[in-house]
Symmetry: C2
Subunit: 418 residues, 2 copies
């Protein structure tokens, strides 16, 4: 370890975990390097709005440099980490080696294809801005191609949308695509009726939103059905290719399949050769450090953390924020030779999910909300949490405008088409 | 011609010309097909704002279907036209043949590389949303790479930005990049000083903004120099590759070269084998129809039209709108067997260009404005003309926010990187 100069802290990943770790180290006399493969911090809870053309990418993503420009002890590096040298204490990328005294891995997760990684090109997941604009292109192009074709079978397949996974992302995607088809696009086409589109939500478990109480699950299911979403429960996708999916032996022809199931942590566990759980999350100590590596911490979706009752901490933004803040405190106490904080304790603040533009479900520890009121609470909470350099007001206005007009202004087909 | 059924009108291109032609035909009993290779109408005068991270693509582009959803006599087709059968009366794409009784070609223009089309990959032009996000990526990545490299020569080249062409687009790009480097990014980097970036504006003619009066040209030149833009006049680029450009025998090493020079009309002239001028614009009759093809019209940047004094009509949005409206009137009069309107007469409403966030030049026929007041007139006029389904208010708020904070919220690096 270098003891002569300021301690070097490397944080990998500028999601909620990494960003809150960096911010928590604001007053520490250290050289912090924050490495991310993108130049932006992403407000992931609203990513489905970009995928369904409700918001523009820049409404929910902000340059990391902009967020941290005043925090002079942080250097932001746009680069992709490829390995970690735990013995020498350095993070490696294709072009450089970044030495560290303390390392925070906040590298997040992707969706899991349960051993069928070859399904990914046919059923993209939703984790980055490029994922979202690519899904937006697929969804909008499906309607465009349906309008153009004279082939009845192709038309059916183009107007079938399958969302795999009944968690919040799957529910939000399915609900919003249903509204897009039923309302937003209803007057736009001349040869097809976009309202005839069928939206399937496939969930392998017995109910949608399994993290919520059964009452709210039921509510969400009914609200989705009211929007015209067909829900297939207790059935897993057994096959997926460019023509559609097979669910419980039945083929659903569908040009658009979106994947919102399962969680596979980033390769952070492999980099440091640490013990991982079934989803690839690194098993961490009670201070979120890694076994045998007291100076390496793993937080957020990349880590397997238990709450005080022994249940796994959910992979949601508030959990990552709490862990980022906590780890900053641990590192600070070590650098400043103070007592270490007590073991990490997750405080659950609640689960939220929206169903279309009128309804949401919210489960706070002591309160359950559903319906229109929940939608407003959800909307206001999300606008409140938009912490970017861009005006959150524009998001508010975009939403209000959409709400009044049913329009979705960001319906642009950009980038290369298939 | 088919006389038994409703006349078929095909409009190719949904820019200002095509869109105003379609709208002008609102009350005509005809089947109108509007074909465009994109699903959006683009407010091109603000495209440089997307390229320089000030606005999001969806702030300045709107789904064509959304704009025309209430005009039931229009079918919008997302397709790329490849040829026109003038004898049989049909437009061809890769997959279909669209028969017409009347054809309006409003296919626009691209930048001209003066016989050096091989320069295009190194010096992209700015005509579409994808151009703009690609330029945004290049500009932002240049700063990122400069921050990362230890190679002094490479750093110099990464911090040199060359804009070729001193018309409004070139002036706006150079001014905004200068502000990005001098103000917006000034606090963001730790290893480079973004303010040390050099921005070159190369114009082959004797002054910038050649369409404006010399007084306003001078003003614009001084305003640009104040922002730190280095202006090279009377000098053409003689060579361009991935390492930079050669201007008047001198090499400027530059990783980022942007092309805003010259105009090359779309291949519409070749499709119909019509006479074209030096820039490929179709020479049209006084009613904007094509010689020997009274039912085929060419408008906007694709056409070579003269104003009442015999001077060429400029390639700007108001000219295209006037021509679109005019052609709609001509077609309508023919369909309804009324007297044809008098020959097309261009009414010049003015030229506008901005220089950074504080200054603009406006040349109305009877009034010249420059400086801050011109900037406000420009801003209000542009917001007024935003005709989309998205709230123009969000654009106003984004601008106001940028103006107060110097932030450019859309600084996202998306898509594939070089």
């Amino acid at each position: 370890m270098n003891t002569s100069v300021r301690p070097r802290i490397v944080i990998v990943g500028a999601g909620f975990g990494g960003l809150f770790a960096a911010r928590g180290l604001q007053c520490v006399d250290a050289d912090i390097t924050l490495v991310d493969q993108h130049n932006y911090h992403l407000f992931q809870p609203l990513l489905y709005q970009v995928a369904t053309a409700g918001l523009a990418p820049s409404d929910i993503a902000w340059p990391i440099r902009g967020i941290l420009s005043r925090q002079k002890n942080v250097t932001v590096l746009l680069d992709r980490v490829s390995d970690v040298d735990t013995t020498g204490g350095a993070v490696g990328t294709a072009e450089r080696r970044i030495p560290f005294d303390y390392l925070v891995l906040a590298t997040g997760a992707r969706h899991a294809y349960f051993g069928h990684d070859d399904w990914e090109p046919h059923a993209p997941g939703l984790k980055s801005i490029d994922d979202a604009t690519s899904i937006r292109r697929r969804v909008l192009m499906a309607f465009e191609r349906a309008e153009m074709t004279n082939d009845g079978h192709l038309k059916t397949s183009l107007l079938n949308f399958v969302v795999v996974g009944g968690g919040p992302t799957g529910v939000e995607l399915a609900g919003t695509i249903a509204e897009l088809a039923r309302r937003t696009l209803a007057a736009d086409f001349r040869r097809i009726d976009s309202r005839s589109a069928r939206i399937f939500l496939v969930e392998a478990g017995p109910r949608v939103l399994p993290a919520f109480s059964t009452k709210l699950s039921d509510y969400a299911q009914k609200a989705l059905q009211k929007l015209g979403v067909e829900i297939l429960l207790g059935q897993a996708v057994t096959h997926c290719d460019s023509t559609g999916v097979v669910v419980a032996g039945e083929t659903i022809p569908a040009a658009t399949v979106l994947w919102a199931a399962g969680v596979a942590a980033s390769p952070a566990g492999a980099w440091i050769e640490a013990e991982t759980d079934h989803a690839g999350r690194v098993v961490v100590n009670s201070d979120l450090s890694v076994k045998n590596h007291p100076n390496i911490f793993v937080i957020g979706d990349a880590a397997a953390v238990k709450d005080p009752k022994g249940a796994p901490v959910p992979g949601i933004a508030p959990a990552a924020k709490q862990q980022g803040r906590y780890v900053a405190g641990v590192i600070r106490s070590r650098i400043e030779n103070r007592n270490a904080p007590a073991a990490f304790r997750y405080r659950h603040s609640g689960h939220l999910a929206t169903i279309g533009r009128k309804s949401a479900v919210i489960e706070f520890p002591f309160l359950r909300l559903s319906g229109m009121l929940a939608w407003w609470v959800w909307g206001i909470a999300h606008i409140y949490f938009l912490i970017g350099v861009r005006s959150p007001m524009t998001v508010a206005i975009n939403w209000f405008w959409q709400y009044v007009t049913y329009g979705r202004g960001a319906r642009l087909i950009t980038g290369e088409r298939k």
